[in-house]
Protein backbone atom coordinates (compact mmCIF):
# COMPACT_ATOMS: atom_id res chain seq x y z
CA UNK A 1 0.00 0.00 0.00
CA UNK A 2 2.68 2.57 0.80
CA UNK A 3 4.35 2.02 -2.57
CA UNK A 4 1.46 3.47 -4.60
CA UNK A 5 1.19 6.58 -2.45
CA UNK A 6 2.48 9.47 -4.55
CA UNK A 7 5.43 10.98 -2.79
CA UNK A 8 4.56 14.56 -2.03
CA UNK A 9 8.09 15.56 -1.09
CA UNK A 10 8.66 17.44 2.15
CA UNK A 11 4.93 17.74 2.47
CA UNK A 12 3.11 17.50 5.77
CA UNK A 13 0.57 15.36 4.00
CA UNK A 14 3.13 12.74 3.16
CA UNK A 15 3.67 12.28 6.88
CA UNK A 16 0.11 10.99 7.10
CA UNK A 17 0.10 7.39 8.27
CA UNK A 18 0.71 5.59 5.00
CA UNK A 19 0.22 2.14 6.42
CA UNK A 20 -3.14 0.80 7.17
CA UNK A 21 -2.65 -1.57 9.96
CA UNK A 22 -0.18 -1.88 12.77
CA UNK A 23 0.24 -5.59 12.00
CA UNK A 24 3.76 -7.01 12.02
CA UNK A 25 4.40 -10.47 10.59
CA UNK A 26 6.10 -12.57 13.29
CA UNK A 27 5.61 -16.28 13.78
CA UNK A 28 5.27 -15.96 17.56
CA UNK A 29 2.91 -18.06 19.71
CA UNK A 30 1.06 -14.82 20.54
CA UNK A 31 0.40 -14.27 16.83
CA UNK A 32 -1.01 -17.79 16.56
CA UNK A 33 -3.53 -17.31 19.38
CA UNK A 34 -7.15 -17.09 18.36
CA UNK A 35 -8.12 -13.43 17.68
CA UNK A 36 -11.04 -13.62 20.10
CA UNK A 37 -8.72 -14.71 22.93
CA UNK A 38 -6.52 -11.65 22.32
CA UNK A 39 -9.54 -9.35 22.15
CA UNK A 40 -10.84 -10.76 25.44
CA UNK A 41 -7.41 -10.12 26.97
CA UNK A 42 -7.58 -6.49 25.80
CA UNK A 43 -10.98 -5.92 27.40
CA UNK A 44 -9.92 -7.74 30.56
CA UNK A 45 -6.84 -5.53 30.98
CA UNK A 46 -8.85 -2.34 30.35
CA UNK A 47 -11.59 -3.27 32.83
CA UNK A 48 -8.98 -4.21 35.46
CA UNK A 49 -7.06 -0.96 34.91
CA UNK A 50 -10.13 1.27 35.20
CA UNK A 51 -12.21 -0.59 37.80
CA UNK A 52 -9.86 -2.90 39.66
CA UNK A 53 -8.69 -2.02 43.16
CA UNK A 54 -5.41 -0.26 43.95
CA UNK A 55 -3.59 2.85 42.83
CA UNK A 56 -0.65 0.91 41.34
CA UNK A 57 -2.69 -1.78 39.53
CA UNK A 58 -2.52 -0.14 36.06
CA UNK A 59 1.26 0.34 36.38
CA UNK A 60 1.60 -3.29 37.46
CA UNK A 61 -0.52 -4.52 34.54
CA UNK A 62 1.66 -2.59 32.12
CA UNK A 63 4.99 -3.73 33.56
CA UNK A 64 4.07 -7.31 34.43
CA UNK A 65 1.65 -8.22 31.62
CA UNK A 66 1.86 -5.93 28.61
CA UNK A 67 5.62 -5.48 28.30
CA UNK A 68 6.43 -9.21 28.73
CA UNK A 69 3.69 -10.09 26.22
CA UNK A 70 5.07 -7.63 23.68
CA UNK A 71 8.56 -9.12 24.06
CA UNK A 72 7.17 -12.65 23.85
CA UNK A 73 5.42 -11.81 20.58
CA UNK A 74 8.58 -10.29 19.12
CA UNK A 75 7.15 -6.80 18.58
CA UNK A 76 8.71 -5.13 21.64
CA UNK A 77 10.53 -2.34 19.79
CA UNK A 78 7.57 -1.34 17.64
CA UNK A 79 5.27 -1.62 20.67
CA UNK A 80 7.37 0.88 22.64
CA UNK A 81 7.97 3.24 19.72
CA UNK A 82 4.32 3.46 18.66
CA UNK A 83 2.97 3.87 22.18
CA UNK A 84 5.45 6.70 22.84
CA UNK A 85 4.48 8.39 19.56
CA UNK A 86 0.75 8.07 20.31
CA UNK A 87 0.78 8.93 23.99
CA UNK A 88 3.72 11.19 24.90
CA UNK A 89 2.08 14.46 23.75
CA UNK A 90 -1.15 13.55 25.58
CA UNK A 91 0.70 12.67 28.77
CA UNK A 92 2.78 15.86 28.74
CA UNK A 93 -0.40 17.88 28.36
CA UNK A 94 -2.19 15.80 31.01
CA UNK A 95 0.51 16.28 33.66
CA UNK A 96 0.83 20.04 33.09
CA UNK A 97 -2.92 20.66 33.11
CA UNK A 98 -3.84 18.35 35.99
CA UNK A 99 -0.99 19.45 38.26
CA UNK A 100 -2.12 23.06 37.82
CA UNK A 101 -5.89 22.75 37.61
CA UNK A 102 -6.94 19.52 39.39
CA UNK A 103 -10.05 20.57 41.36
CA UNK A 104 -9.12 18.66 44.56
CA UNK A 105 -5.61 20.11 44.79
CA UNK A 106 -4.59 21.25 48.31
CA UNK A 107 -0.89 20.52 48.83
CA UNK A 108 1.03 23.19 46.91
CA UNK A 109 4.50 22.03 45.87
CA UNK A 110 5.70 24.94 43.75
CA UNK A 111 3.95 28.25 43.30
CA UNK A 112 4.62 30.77 40.54
CA UNK A 113 2.47 33.89 40.06
CA UNK A 114 -1.14 32.61 39.75
CA UNK A 115 -0.04 29.06 38.95
CA UNK A 116 0.55 26.43 41.61
CA UNK A 117 1.63 22.84 41.13
CA UNK A 118 -0.30 20.57 43.49
CA UNK A 119 0.62 17.08 44.67
CA UNK A 120 -2.93 15.74 44.32
CA UNK A 121 -2.99 16.86 40.71
CA UNK A 122 0.22 15.00 39.92
CA UNK A 123 -1.03 11.86 41.69
CA UNK A 124 -4.30 12.02 39.74
CA UNK A 125 -2.50 12.63 36.44
CA UNK A 126 -0.28 9.60 37.09
CA UNK A 127 -3.29 7.34 37.72
CA UNK A 128 -5.11 8.61 34.62
CA UNK A 129 -1.99 8.32 32.49
CA UNK A 130 -1.28 4.72 33.53
CA UNK A 131 -4.91 3.76 32.88
CA UNK A 132 -4.81 5.30 29.39
CA UNK A 133 -1.44 3.64 28.85
CA UNK A 134 -2.95 0.22 29.60
CA UNK A 135 -5.98 0.94 27.40
CA UNK A 136 -4.09 2.16 24.34
CA UNK A 137 -1.14 -0.20 24.53
CA UNK A 138 -3.24 -3.32 25.01
CA UNK A 139 -5.17 -2.45 21.85
CA UNK A 140 -1.84 -1.75 20.20
CA UNK A 141 -0.52 -5.17 21.22
CA UNK A 142 -3.63 -6.83 19.78
CA UNK A 143 -3.23 -4.93 16.50
CA UNK A 144 0.52 -5.59 16.22
CA UNK A 145 -0.10 -9.32 16.62
CA UNK A 146 -3.36 -9.79 14.73
CA UNK A 147 -4.12 -9.04 11.11
CA UNK A 148 -7.44 -7.14 10.85
CA UNK A 149 -8.73 -9.60 8.26
CA UNK A 150 -8.00 -12.55 10.60
CA UNK A 151 -10.05 -10.75 13.25
CA UNK A 152 -12.90 -10.20 10.76
CA UNK A 153 -12.79 -13.80 9.47
CA UNK A 154 -13.00 -15.13 13.00
CA UNK A 155 -15.93 -12.83 13.77
CA UNK A 156 -17.75 -13.92 10.63
CA UNK A 157 -17.22 -17.58 11.56
CA UNK A 158 -18.68 -16.91 15.01
CA UNK A 159 -21.85 -15.52 13.50
CA UNK A 160 -21.25 -11.76 13.25
CA UNK A 161 -23.38 -10.60 10.28
CA UNK A 162 -21.44 -10.60 6.99
CA UNK A 163 -22.40 -7.00 6.06
CA UNK A 164 -20.63 -5.78 9.21
CA UNK A 165 -17.38 -7.59 8.48
CA UNK A 166 -17.67 -6.54 4.83
CA UNK A 167 -17.88 -2.86 5.84
CA UNK A 168 -14.76 -3.02 8.02
CA UNK A 169 -12.69 -5.06 5.57
CA UNK A 170 -13.77 -2.88 2.65
CA UNK A 171 -13.01 0.38 4.49
CA UNK A 172 -9.50 -0.81 5.28
CA UNK A 173 -9.04 -1.31 1.53
CA UNK A 174 -10.61 1.96 0.41
CA UNK A 175 -8.83 4.15 2.96
CA UNK A 176 -5.29 4.03 1.51
CA UNK A 177 -6.71 4.63 -1.98
CA UNK A 178 -8.54 7.71 -0.74
CA UNK A 179 -5.48 8.96 1.13
CA UNK A 180 -3.44 8.62 -2.05
CA UNK A 181 -6.18 10.44 -3.97
CA UNK A 182 -6.21 13.23 -1.37
CA UNK A 183 -2.44 13.66 -1.66
CA UNK A 184 -2.77 13.88 -5.47
CA UNK A 185 -5.57 16.45 -5.22
CA UNK A 186 -3.59 18.59 -2.77
CA UNK A 187 -0.57 18.53 -5.11
CA UNK A 188 -2.71 19.31 -8.17
CA UNK A 189 -4.56 22.22 -6.54
CA UNK A 190 -1.32 23.67 -5.19
CA UNK A 191 0.29 23.55 -8.60
CA UNK A 192 -2.71 25.54 -9.87
CA UNK A 193 -1.92 28.15 -7.23
CA UNK A 194 -4.19 27.17 -4.35
CA UNK A 195 -2.75 28.46 -1.08
CA UNK A 196 -2.89 25.95 1.75
CA UNK A 197 -0.90 28.04 4.19
CA UNK A 198 -1.22 31.56 5.54
CA UNK A 199 -4.10 33.26 7.34
CA UNK A 200 -7.15 31.43 8.64
CA UNK A 201 -9.37 32.84 5.87
CA UNK A 202 -7.04 31.50 3.19
CA UNK A 203 -6.92 28.06 4.77
CA UNK A 204 -10.71 27.89 5.15
CA UNK A 205 -11.11 28.81 1.48
CA UNK A 206 -8.69 26.03 0.54
CA UNK A 207 -10.97 23.40 2.11
CA UNK A 208 -13.67 23.18 -0.58
CA UNK A 209 -11.38 22.77 -3.62
CA UNK A 210 -9.68 19.92 -1.77
CA UNK A 211 -12.75 18.19 -0.35
CA UNK A 212 -15.02 18.54 -3.40
CA UNK A 213 -13.09 16.47 -5.96
CA UNK A 214 -12.21 13.86 -3.34
CA UNK A 215 -15.77 13.28 -2.17
CA UNK A 216 -17.55 13.34 -5.51
CA UNK A 217 -14.85 11.21 -7.11
CA UNK A 218 -15.26 8.47 -4.52
CA UNK A 219 -19.07 8.59 -4.37
CA UNK A 220 -19.25 7.83 -8.10
CA UNK A 221 -17.80 4.35 -7.50
CA UNK A 222 -20.48 3.45 -4.95
CA UNK A 223 -23.23 2.57 -7.43
CA UNK A 224 -21.00 0.39 -9.55
CA UNK A 225 -19.75 -1.53 -6.52
CA UNK A 226 -23.33 -2.12 -5.33
CA UNK A 227 -24.27 -3.68 -8.66
CA UNK A 228 -21.15 -5.86 -8.61
CA UNK A 229 -21.98 -7.13 -5.10
CA UNK A 230 -25.61 -7.84 -5.92
CA UNK A 231 -24.47 -9.89 -8.91
CA UNK A 232 -22.31 -12.04 -6.56
CA UNK A 233 -24.99 -13.23 -4.10
CA UNK A 234 -23.99 -10.72 -1.41
CA UNK A 235 -27.52 -10.74 -0.02
CA UNK A 236 -27.73 -14.52 0.15
CA UNK A 237 -28.35 -15.81 3.65
CA UNK A 238 -26.78 -19.25 3.19
CA UNK A 239 -23.69 -20.13 5.19
CA UNK A 240 -20.56 -19.58 3.12
CA UNK A 241 -17.45 -21.71 3.40
CA UNK A 242 -14.18 -20.07 4.32
CA UNK A 243 -10.80 -20.50 2.66
CA UNK A 244 -8.76 -19.68 5.77
CA UNK A 245 -9.06 -21.77 8.92
CA UNK A 246 -8.43 -19.93 12.18
CA UNK A 247 -7.25 -22.18 15.03
CA UNK A 248 -8.94 -22.27 18.41
CA UNK A 249 -8.35 -24.64 21.32
CA UNK A 250 -9.92 -25.86 24.54
CA UNK A 251 -7.21 -24.11 26.58
CA UNK A 252 -7.98 -20.78 24.93
CA UNK A 253 -11.67 -21.20 25.54
CA UNK A 254 -10.91 -21.81 29.22
CA UNK A 255 -8.63 -18.73 29.29
CA UNK A 256 -11.40 -16.58 27.85
CA UNK A 257 -13.90 -17.69 30.51
CA UNK A 258 -11.32 -17.05 33.22
CA UNK A 259 -10.71 -13.52 31.92
CA UNK A 260 -14.45 -12.90 31.79
CA UNK A 261 -14.66 -13.96 35.44
CA UNK A 262 -11.78 -11.59 36.32
CA UNK A 263 -13.60 -8.70 34.63
CA UNK A 264 -16.78 -9.43 36.60
CA UNK A 265 -14.74 -9.60 39.83
CA UNK A 266 -13.13 -6.23 39.11
CA UNK A 267 -16.52 -4.64 38.42
CA UNK A 268 -18.00 -6.22 41.54
CA UNK A 269 -15.13 -4.99 43.71
CA UNK A 270 -15.62 -1.45 42.39
CA UNK A 271 -19.37 -1.62 43.00
CA UNK A 272 -18.80 -2.93 46.55
CA UNK A 273 -16.21 -0.24 47.35
CA UNK A 274 -18.45 2.59 46.18
CA UNK A 275 -21.38 1.06 48.08
CA UNK A 276 -19.28 0.86 51.26
CA UNK A 277 -18.10 4.48 50.95
CA UNK A 278 -21.66 5.67 50.57
CA UNK A 279 -23.05 3.89 53.65
Amino acid sequence: MPENTPQASQDKFSRMPDRLSFYLERGSPFHRLNPLTKLTLVFCLIILAFFGPGYWLPSLLYLAVLIPLSLWSGVGREFMRTSIRLLLPLFGFLFVMQSLFYPGGRTVLVSLWIFAIKAEGIAFAYLTATRILVMVSSFLLLLLGTHPSALMNDFARRGVPAPLTYIIASTLQILPQMQAKAATIIDAQRSRGLETEGGLGKRVRALLPLVGPLVFGSLVDVEERAIALEARAFNSRRVKTSLVEIPDSQVERLARWTMLLLMLLALASRAWLSFKSRV
Binding site: F13, M16, P17, L20, S21, F22, F50, L86, L87, L90, F93, L94, M97, Q98, F101, P103, F124, A125, T128, R131, I132, M135, V136, F139, L140, L143, P148, Y166, I167, I168, S170, T171, L172, I174, L175, M178, Q179, A182, I186, T196, R203, V204, A206, L207, L210, V211, G212, L214, V215, F216, S218, L219, V222, E223, R225, A226, L229, E230, F234, N235
Partner: protein, 198 residues
Protein backbone atom coordinates in the same frame (compact mmCIF):
# COMPACT_ATOMS: atom_id res chain seq x y z
CA UNK B 1 -41.70 -5.93 14.46
CA UNK B 2 -42.32 -2.87 12.33
CA UNK B 3 -39.14 -1.29 13.70
CA UNK B 4 -36.98 -4.26 12.66
CA UNK B 5 -38.56 -4.23 9.20
CA UNK B 6 -37.90 -0.52 8.72
CA UNK B 7 -34.29 -0.89 9.91
CA UNK B 8 -33.78 -3.75 7.45
CA UNK B 9 -35.13 -1.59 4.65
CA UNK B 10 -32.55 1.10 5.49
CA UNK B 11 -29.68 -1.33 4.94
CA UNK B 12 -29.91 -2.04 1.23
CA UNK B 13 -26.81 -2.78 -0.83
CA UNK B 14 -26.30 0.91 -1.67
CA UNK B 15 -26.18 1.71 2.05
CA UNK B 16 -23.68 -1.07 2.76
CA UNK B 17 -21.43 0.16 -0.03
CA UNK B 18 -21.81 3.84 0.91
CA UNK B 19 -20.79 3.26 4.55
CA UNK B 20 -17.13 2.31 3.85
CA UNK B 21 -16.78 5.33 1.54
CA UNK B 22 -18.37 7.56 4.19
CA UNK B 23 -15.97 6.27 6.84
CA UNK B 24 -13.02 6.93 4.54
CA UNK B 25 -14.42 10.44 3.91
CA UNK B 26 -14.58 11.04 7.67
CA UNK B 27 -10.98 10.01 8.17
CA UNK B 28 -9.41 11.63 5.11
CA UNK B 29 -11.22 14.98 5.55
CA UNK B 30 -10.27 14.85 9.23
CA UNK B 31 -6.66 14.55 8.12
CA UNK B 32 -6.94 17.31 5.47
CA UNK B 33 -8.28 19.58 8.22
CA UNK B 34 -5.21 18.74 10.30
CA UNK B 35 -2.95 19.62 7.36
CA UNK B 36 -4.76 22.95 6.89
CA UNK B 37 -4.57 23.51 10.68
CA UNK B 38 -8.21 24.58 10.87
CA UNK B 39 -9.62 25.02 14.39
CA UNK B 40 -12.35 22.37 13.83
CA UNK B 41 -12.45 18.57 13.54
CA UNK B 42 -14.85 18.01 10.60
CA UNK B 43 -14.36 14.29 11.09
CA UNK B 44 -17.99 13.24 10.83
CA UNK B 45 -19.14 14.59 7.46
CA UNK B 46 -19.56 11.04 6.12
CA UNK B 47 -21.51 10.00 9.22
CA UNK B 48 -23.99 12.87 8.83
CA UNK B 49 -24.25 12.09 5.10
CA UNK B 50 -25.21 8.47 5.76
CA UNK B 51 -27.61 9.54 8.51
CA UNK B 52 -29.42 11.83 6.09
CA UNK B 53 -29.49 9.44 3.10
CA UNK B 54 -29.92 6.06 4.82
CA UNK B 55 -31.56 6.77 8.18
CA UNK B 56 -30.52 7.02 11.85
CA UNK B 57 -29.50 3.35 12.32
CA UNK B 58 -27.16 3.39 9.34
CA UNK B 59 -25.78 6.72 10.55
CA UNK B 60 -25.16 5.31 14.02
CA UNK B 61 -23.38 2.28 12.53
CA UNK B 62 -21.22 4.53 10.34
CA UNK B 63 -20.16 6.63 13.31
CA UNK B 64 -19.35 3.62 15.48
CA UNK B 65 -17.35 1.84 12.79
CA UNK B 66 -15.57 5.10 11.94
CA UNK B 67 -14.08 5.27 15.39
CA UNK B 68 -13.30 1.56 15.44
CA UNK B 69 -11.45 1.80 12.13
CA UNK B 70 -9.67 5.00 13.17
CA UNK B 71 -8.56 3.00 16.21
CA UNK B 72 -7.57 -0.08 14.17
CA UNK B 73 -5.57 1.83 11.60
CA UNK B 74 -4.36 5.12 13.05
CA UNK B 75 -4.73 5.71 16.78
CA UNK B 76 -6.25 3.35 19.40
CA UNK B 77 -7.12 6.45 21.47
CA UNK B 78 -10.25 6.83 19.36
CA UNK B 79 -11.98 3.58 20.48
CA UNK B 80 -13.52 4.95 23.70
CA UNK B 81 -15.11 7.90 21.85
CA UNK B 82 -17.32 5.71 19.65
CA UNK B 83 -20.58 6.57 21.52
CA UNK B 84 -20.15 10.21 20.47
CA UNK B 85 -19.87 9.25 16.81
CA UNK B 86 -22.77 6.82 17.20
CA UNK B 87 -25.07 9.57 18.46
CA UNK B 88 -23.91 12.05 15.81
CA UNK B 89 -25.10 9.62 13.13
CA UNK B 90 -28.26 8.71 14.99
CA UNK B 91 -29.40 12.29 15.70
CA UNK B 92 -28.61 13.54 12.21
CA UNK B 93 -30.68 10.65 10.84
CA UNK B 94 -33.72 11.62 12.93
CA UNK B 95 -33.24 15.30 12.06
CA UNK B 96 -33.33 14.38 8.37
CA UNK B 97 -36.51 12.33 8.88
CA UNK B 98 -38.06 15.37 10.64
CA UNK B 99 -37.36 17.40 7.49
CA UNK B 100 -34.37 19.30 8.87
CA UNK B 101 -32.18 18.49 5.88
CA UNK B 102 -34.19 20.18 3.15
CA UNK B 103 -32.93 23.79 3.17
CA UNK B 104 -29.65 25.28 4.34
CA UNK B 105 -31.05 27.08 7.36
CA UNK B 106 -32.80 23.94 8.58
CA UNK B 107 -29.48 22.15 8.20
CA UNK B 108 -28.00 24.67 10.65
CA UNK B 109 -30.63 23.53 13.19
CA UNK B 110 -29.56 19.92 12.54
CA UNK B 111 -25.95 20.97 13.18
CA UNK B 112 -26.84 22.59 16.49
CA UNK B 113 -28.89 19.59 17.67
CA UNK B 114 -26.05 17.25 16.71
CA UNK B 115 -23.57 19.51 18.53
CA UNK B 116 -25.57 19.47 21.77
CA UNK B 117 -25.85 15.68 21.61
CA UNK B 118 -22.12 15.32 20.99
CA UNK B 119 -21.32 17.68 23.87
CA UNK B 120 -23.50 15.72 26.30
CA UNK B 121 -22.30 12.26 25.22
CA UNK B 122 -18.60 13.15 25.21
CA UNK B 123 -18.64 14.71 28.68
CA UNK B 124 -18.80 11.49 30.77
CA UNK B 125 -16.14 9.89 28.54
CA UNK B 126 -13.79 12.85 29.01
CA UNK B 127 -14.48 12.98 32.75
CA UNK B 128 -14.34 9.30 33.71
CA UNK B 129 -11.72 8.02 31.26
CA UNK B 130 -9.43 11.02 30.90
CA UNK B 131 -10.12 12.90 34.13
CA UNK B 132 -11.43 15.87 32.13
CA UNK B 133 -8.24 16.73 30.23
CA UNK B 134 -7.97 15.21 26.74
CA UNK B 135 -5.52 15.75 23.91
CA UNK B 136 -7.69 18.30 22.11
CA UNK B 137 -7.64 22.07 22.35
CA UNK B 138 -11.01 22.04 24.14
CA UNK B 139 -9.06 21.23 27.31
CA UNK B 140 -7.66 24.79 27.49
CA UNK B 141 -11.20 26.09 27.94
CA UNK B 142 -11.91 23.28 30.43
CA UNK B 143 -8.81 24.24 32.45
CA UNK B 144 -9.81 27.91 32.42
CA UNK B 145 -13.29 27.06 33.71
CA UNK B 146 -11.81 24.80 36.40
CA UNK B 147 -9.56 27.66 37.51
CA UNK B 148 -12.58 29.96 37.87
CA UNK B 149 -14.05 27.50 40.38
CA UNK B 150 -16.44 25.35 38.31
CA UNK B 151 -16.60 21.65 39.17
CA UNK B 152 -15.18 19.15 36.71
CA UNK B 153 -18.39 17.97 35.01
CA UNK B 154 -19.69 21.54 34.56
CA UNK B 155 -16.33 22.69 33.20
CA UNK B 156 -16.07 19.88 30.64
CA UNK B 157 -19.72 20.18 29.63
CA UNK B 158 -19.58 23.96 29.13
CA UNK B 159 -16.29 23.74 27.23
CA UNK B 160 -17.94 21.21 24.89
CA UNK B 161 -21.00 23.42 24.48
CA UNK B 162 -18.73 26.30 23.45
CA UNK B 163 -16.68 24.31 20.93
CA UNK B 164 -19.08 21.78 19.37
CA UNK B 165 -21.66 24.02 17.59
CA UNK B 166 -19.13 25.61 15.20
CA UNK B 167 -17.74 22.23 14.22
CA UNK B 168 -21.04 20.41 13.86
CA UNK B 169 -22.84 23.22 11.98
CA UNK B 170 -19.93 23.32 9.51
CA UNK B 171 -20.07 19.51 9.26
CA UNK B 172 -23.82 19.48 8.56
CA UNK B 173 -23.53 22.28 5.98
CA UNK B 174 -20.71 20.48 4.15
CA UNK B 175 -22.75 17.24 4.11
CA UNK B 176 -25.67 19.28 2.71
CA UNK B 177 -23.42 20.80 0.05
CA UNK B 178 -22.29 17.31 -0.98
CA UNK B 179 -25.91 16.10 -1.27
CA UNK B 180 -26.84 19.14 -3.37
CA UNK B 181 -23.95 18.31 -5.69
CA UNK B 182 -25.23 14.80 -6.42
CA UNK B 183 -27.76 14.00 -9.12
CA UNK B 184 -31.38 13.18 -8.24
CA UNK B 185 -31.09 9.87 -10.10
CA UNK B 186 -28.10 8.86 -7.96
CA UNK B 187 -29.70 9.97 -4.69
CA UNK B 188 -32.91 8.07 -5.49
CA UNK B 189 -31.11 4.74 -5.01
CA UNK B 190 -30.64 5.39 -1.27
CA UNK B 191 -33.39 4.24 1.12
CA UNK B 192 -34.12 7.68 2.61
CA UNK B 193 -33.78 9.82 -0.49
CA UNK B 194 -37.08 11.56 0.38
CA UNK B 195 -35.36 13.14 3.40
CA UNK B 196 -33.28 15.41 1.22
CA UNK B 197 -35.48 16.09 -1.82
CA UNK B 198 -36.95 19.56 -1.52
Amino acid sequence: MRLVESIKKDFNTMTLVLIPVAIAINIVIGQIVLVLKLPVFLDSIGTVLVGALCGPWAGALTGTLSNIIWGLAIDPNSFPWFPVALFIGFVSGWCAIAGLFKTWWKVIITGILVAFTAAIVSTPIAVYLYGGITASGVSFITAFLLQTGRDLVTAVLSANFIVEPVDKVATALLAYAIIKGLSVRYLARFPRADNVSA
